[in-house]
Amino acid sequence: MTKKYDTPLLDELEKGPFPSFVTEIKKAAAKNAMAADELGQLEKSFRDKVTYWKHGGIVGVRGYGGGVIGRYSQLADQFPGVAHFHTVRVNQPSGLFYNSETIRFICDLWDKYGSGLTNFHGSTGDMVLLGTVTDNLEPLATILSLNGFDLGGSGSAMRTPSCCLGPARCEWAMIDTLDITYDLTQEFQDELHRPQFPYKFKIKTVGCPVDCNASIARADLSIIGTWKGPIAIDQDKVKDYAKKGMNIQEEIVNFCPGKCITWDGNNLTINNSDCLHCMHCITKLAGALKPTPPFGATLLIGAKAPFVIGATLSWVIVPFMEMKPPYQEIKDLIRNMWDWWNEYGKNRERIGELIIRRGMREFLEVCGLEPTPEMVREPRNDPFWFWTEEDLEKKPWEEYLK
């Protein structure tokens, strides 16, 4: 049924211990003509050291502005099975939890309407169904929706929010990352499905500063669980670690960035007011140390990959926010920043780039946030800054120098 290609270069990649993507393509190719031509074209790419995909054209599903990425081959004559080879993004469940029944449904659906090839998962977190033709998009989306699934985001939209597995299986989760992600996804369905922003907007939520979802490197809005209480210490368990051979001084005390831990061989002491909440001691002494309430989140803004102004990491805009349903405070904040970004952002300008271009003051003012030292590593060094007319009228020193 499917065409067979000689793939000597790709065959090399079936050797070795790590599971082979070539084997995966071959499995699909055995019963699917699209997958077979994908294999053929890929071998040619390996021979010629160049990609053979065209710039994506616009394809879509009625009622949606995104969720599908058009993809066409440059070599449609030679590999007609991949003439169209579109990607469908399906919004994953929070935390990437599945069950067998569900995954079989996805497989059945994709064998019927697509190439049989998938990505679990795409970089943003969606299930990625890899390779279908334009005509299949409407029925595919319909069946997904019939069964409780929806498309993910693409283009200049809110992208599918994602999170770490949080309270589902982690003792350090200080916020309910799964619920926050589900709730924000439902709240902003319109912004997710109908691109209306200057560019993409990613929200990633993680339960603690360990950041197992790389939110600080990848999310326009990073929501990172944290705590304000002291670290609770089970001294016996600390001693157990020492007995089992851990060098507490070297492995814990010396690595503390706040230099706030001491260990006398019997007792671990933490000066919590100097704690930087880095989680090193807590993770390395699992079960012995524990953050305590108040719990909440630090919000950070602006991470992105290099284009256009260079890579950025997210930076602090709210040191601490309580995160309780219905999450009204963060929803209001998100709408405020989107309004401003929609008004001032240039085409393809991420929100972080806009803040850097127009300054933190304007951003904080539109968001109703006060400036705080936690937003900066250090204050500015060059003696150039702005004053508003209102600033000039104020005499704050009369207060703080009293």
Binding site: L10, L13, K15, F18, P19, F21, E24, I25, A28, A35, E38, S45, F46, T51, W53, R62, Y64, N91, P93, Y98, N99, S100, E101, T102, C107, L117, T118, N119, F120, H121, S123, E138, P139, S145, N147, S162, R169, C170, E171, D176, T185, Q189, P209, D211, C212, A214, I216, A217, R218, E250, E251, C256, P257, T283, P306, F307, G310, A311, N347, R348
Partner: protein
């Protein structure tokens, strides 16, 4: 939930904006019961850990590697295994591993046995190499300067021992991006690989006006190297300013930049995303260029070995690659890896000054 795939699809029936299914549908009962109430966990072997709830309940997790690109055959196999040992429950990690969630301790070893028998690669938990975050490469991307899956395969084969058994001082996070657009967090990984171009885009003047918008194309250039060419209704590129990033091609198909003989791979090192010990760090340039040599990129593997082995030999326990380099200093990094330091390593862009060494503090390496 009974899933339905009707033979006849009435697309007008379709509801929009229903969002994803609720995650509770997919949580094993023991997780539902102990949600948010976990006490601790233990890593029992490189591919096995157990989480213990305050209630005393436990759940075992078995992790196996996945190439991320999965056929429905393999997905069904995973589903079958999960059904057999896990009540059907499993998940994926953000680094594309598969995790089987076992509620019944007696099923842990049989599961491990079946996975071994089926040649699944078990491991990746704790201070070792985990699976590689990567992009699409030549499989599915129009702007890939290098393949991603093949690089991942070659790297993971090379460092397989460090996934399945051996330890490293701390986790080593690899990442692969097939072009400088860098879908994924390559800019913050321990050792990462990015496809690069080294020649100017070729301007297809005839097609520019049909395929591209002038302002968008100009704005896509990080160095303002693109200016209008009104006579041709096209653009000009200032060769002195172009850094071959390919972002203009991303917005304008009339500016192809791929070049089989000059494209290749750069290696960046020392990034991290977690806030553990040191704040998150960007990856920094270690090797400016290695050639594209499919199917297994042996030069890239060799250079990676140099970095990886120097890290394993030199880092203190718990130090990530970036922390190790920061402690020993970049002059020592280049000395102990034997990699050359070239003009390309010295930044010359927006924040260049902030990377210059404005101190006499350095170590003698020769």
């Amino acid at each position: 939930m009974p899933y339905v795939i009707p033979d006849v699809v009435d697309v007008k029936q379709r509801k929009t904006d229903i969002g994803p299914p609720h995650y509770k549908n997919f949580l094993p009962p023991v997780i539902q019961k102990n949600y948010g109430d976990w006490k601790t966990h233990e890593i029992l072997s490189p591919g096995l850990m157990v989480h213990i709830a305050n209630s005393g309940d436990k759940i075992w997790t078995v992790r196996v590697a996945s190439p991320r690109l999965l056929s429905t055959d393999t997905l069904r196999d995973i589903a079958d295994i999960a059904e057999k040992y896990c009540g059907g429950y499993f998940r994926f990690t953000t680094r594309n591993n598969v995790e089987f969630l076992v509620s019944d301790e007696s099923k842990v070893n049989p599961l491990l046995d079946e996975l071994k028998a089926k040649k699944y690669m078990i491991g990746g938990i704790g201070s070792r190499v985990s699976n590689i975050v990567h992009t699409q490469g030549w499989i599915h991307c129009h702007s890939a300067a290098v393949d991603a899956s093949a690089l991942v395969k070659a790297l993971m084969d090379e460092f397989a021992d460090y996934f399945t058994t051996k330890e490293t001082p701390n986790k080593v996070r690899f990442a692969v991006a097939c072009c400088t657009n860098m879908c994924g967090a390559v800019h913050c990984s321990d050792i990462a690989f990015v496809g690069i171009h080294r020649k100017l885009p070729r301007i297809d003047h005839d097609n520019f006006k049909n395929l591209c918008e002038l302002p968008t194309t100009m704005a896509a250039c990080p160095t303002a190297a693109i200016t209008p060419d009104p006579a041709k209704k096209s653009i000009k590129i200032n060769a002195e300013k172009c850094m071959y990033c390919g972002n203009c091609f991303s917005v304008c198909p009339a500016l192809p930049i791929a070049d089989p003989e000059n494209d290749g791979v750069a290696i960046v090192v020392g990034g991290k995303v977690g806030n553990l010990r040191k704040p998150p760090m960007f990856s920094k340039l270690a090797v400016a260029y290695l050639p594209n040599t499919p199917p297994r990129w042996p030069e890239v593997i060799k250079a990676t070995r140099k970095i990886f082995d120097a890290y394993v030999a030199g880092a203190k326990k718990h130090e990530r690659v970036g922390e190790w380099i920061e402690r020993i200093g970049w002059e020592k990094f280049f000395a102990v890896t034997g990699l050359p330091f070239t003009f390309q390593h010295i930044d010359d862009w927006t924040y260049a000054f902030k990377t210059f060494r404005t101190t006499t503090q350095f170590k003698w390496t020769k």
